[in-house]
Symmetry: C2
Subunit: 505 residues, 2 copies
Amino acid sequence: MAKKAKTAITPTRTEDYTEWYQQVVRASDLAERSPVRGCMVIRPWGYALWENIVRELDDMFKATGVKNAYFPLFIPLSFLEKEAEHVEGFAKECAVVTHHRLEKGPEGGLVPAGSLNEPLVVRPTSETIIGDSFSKWVSSYRDLPLLINQWANVVRWEMRTRIFLRTSEFLWQEGHTVHATDKDAIERTRLMLDVYAKLAEEYLAIPVIKGTKTPSERFPGALDTLCIEAMMQDRKALQAGTSHFLGQNFAKASDIKFHSAEGTEEYAWTTSWGASTRLIGGLIMTHGDDDGIILPPRVASSHVVIMPIAKKPEDRSKVMEYTETLAKELREKYYHHRRIQVEIDDRDVGGRGWDWIKKGIPVRVEIGPRDIADNSVFIGTRDKEYKDRSSLKRDQFVAEITNILDEIQDTLFQRALTFREKNTIIINDNKQFYEFFTPQNQDKPEIHGGFSLSPWCGSEECESKIKEDLSVTIRCIPFDNEAEKGNCICCGKPDSKQVIFAKAY
Amino acid sequence: MAKKAKTAITPTRTEDYTEWYQQVVRASDLAERSPVRGCMVIRPWGYALWENIVRELDDMFKATGVKNAYFPLFIPLSFLEKEAEHVEGFAKECAVVTHHRLEKGPEGGLVPAGSLNEPLVVRPTSETIIGDSFSKWVSSYRDLPLLINQWANVVRWEMRTRIFLRTSEFLWQEGHTVHATDKDAIERTRLMLDVYAKLAEEYLAIPVIKGTKTPSERFPGALDTLCIEAMMQDRKALQAGTSHFLGQNFAKASDIKFHSAEGTEEYAWTTSWGASTRLIGGLIMTHGDDDGIILPPRVASSHVVIMPIAKKPEDRSKVMEYTETLAKELREKYYHHRRIQVEIDDRDVGGRGWDWIKKGIPVRVEIGPRDIADNSVFIGTRDKEYKDRSSLKRDQFVAEITNILDEIQDTLFQRALTFREKNTIIINDNKQFYEFFTPQNQDKPEIHGGFSLSPWCGSEECESKIKEDLSVTIRCIPFDNEAEKGNCICCGKPDSKQVIFAKAY
């Protein structure tokens, strides 16, 4: 494959990863900043991607018995205060509604009026308001498990925002379940983490590591937070989904009790779990290259773009007819359980192809009079692996399109997995650990760091020292890693568990 | 069919229609009040219904070229003020965010802190914030039409709320389109009204009348508001969807301009259109009977419930196996493009059947050892029309299930249509008009009123006099009714257009 002199995105990833991300989002038409501080506008190309993620995740939830419901956007302040750690965790970033109308102010403009007796918080998460309903819905062990999910917008007033990754308002789902025993609740917490891992790996083509958060990184009010962690191309970690075992904390706060089979009254055990539009940020940073985003076919906003080429006016109708027929035939086929989505771009402008490369569509097709004469099509795949920009017989292309899409999906996943593996190392030596996370060359910060598998004694002191020294956190204590032990990378204490350290978003 | 002595819902519709509605909602598990003033909790049975409505409507929108996107929940006050009539229309019912965090107050509890420079309004509708994006997305006639829809929650701080019909927060979709000419915008306004009418009639089984609102009933800022109006069983009208031609008002407010093919710069023409969870209220009031709701099969939360009956423990496994096999077979079939949804209720409690009647599921199936011996099933349909509570051969039932569902769907629509036609009369006489809308017997208010087709001169004076005298409004000026003219029902002015008068929700 010939190397292009120029990339579609400036700067490139190695030049300035942060700015590259902003430029990729801009060039992709996925989303844009809004005039409302920290809020984004999700454009149709980005929203179609989100709709596909929602559909897949929703199907997986329902297959485990979860049902959807909807709860109020507003949470009375007194509800939020019911769980002490919880309110402590969210108080600093709450949008607060204090008035219920507008009226003419002294200077002529409108001002807030109709002061509320109790301020309402725009939900940052819904444990407390959903808990109120659950306390009414649950009375007997026969009502359990109660498995509920909500698709909603939430607001967390972030000081430093970044499109998709950290926005004041974002879209997400939040699952909330109630169980009769701690064992059932813990099993559900783990089951939903597995669902997130499946979404990430099989649909978003993002390899993830499953594990447990340290106490300091838990959801406010949780007894245990499980997570999936992915490596971005700057080697930083992104948390891509979390599942919380809440113990009886929220059941006690919201008075969720049930009569057991033995006739005793007991507090229930609850869980909550969420994934958000942040996943799109992770997808961009995992697969994007210096020409823009690359959409994994399983969730892509669209699969194929056909660009008819008819320089002579007399060719136009023939080329368009061939295009329409091909599009129709492709649209009748299924890629997994979704119909193949086809765009036709018949704009007469230069750089059409580059627009679609920047939008990350998996397959581009060009059709000109010569292709028609030869009964062939000229195709390019966005991952550049599959016979890039090569000619295929038309019928062969139609027959193979689902294989082509599957190959792109696999390539993206394998490429990301190889990258992560290459940049994950076992470090048992303190000096090597500090070197690993300290850029030796300020101009090339990318050549150091990644995931370090290192022993940690379990103390908050060692965890904070490393965070302070290096801005490195424990991403998770990976599952199935019990056997790996050594001397704490910070204090040297023996028999310490191996955990994953990394810089993170 | 034997008449039951007692109904599942108390009071009945004739006894107290308003209270009947509240009790039906409660008994159905569709939704419930929340501790947040005027907001509702949509329970799983109600949310599944909404999901089905969303899916059908979304498919219809997309078939006309509309794409989904998402815009911020918050609208800066200054944006809302851009269109004078618009802000005037919504100022009295806005939830206003004034702070972005909470901190310990003097009395120890949390109080709002971090005052915002500019208050943010929780969107009551999104013309102004979406207009801001549109002004950036549109620059040439080639960008038009721009056809966007948003599925979202909105907040209108209502003083008197009623579940589904009028809640402070509700779920809806709002479509927003931009066009190069007034003609294109007007056509789109009408096209989307037709989509709403199709949803109402073919899916919700609610017959509707399409027409134009009078100027006083228009959306604030619109040049024209089209609507569909339905008749509830208390003969009052319910507006079930609106489509607005906004002229250039919002394009001017948001600076949406484009370069025409001729090279001139012009303001665009916009539309907006919306339908909400209010439709569920309309569905309940159109089809509900004194035993609860009746769900139209095309959007029903589920289609069939199977209730195994095994009084002797030794029958249990055989009955459950027969039940599971039947459920599996039904679930493999499609009703229109959706798989048949089957519930199994094997609870050992009395009144199971009544629970499902109150939830409005279209078909109930009972299976006991004798049915199995006879290879048959015992079925009841919620509309009570189809061989109610009769025995059918099992294979015949499986073969006919989609026909049974279609028959229920048709019955519901025809029943509602007959009811509306019976209660819609042409009145040209002022005295008769006043009598029609004045209950003669305060104990039986239901025996008067309905839709009156009467001439109106077009003056706001006559419109308000009737509203003041009778609480009756002009629901719409129906389409295709141009020929019907007479003397204004209020002032007697000749050559006045026939319009629909009614009391309304």
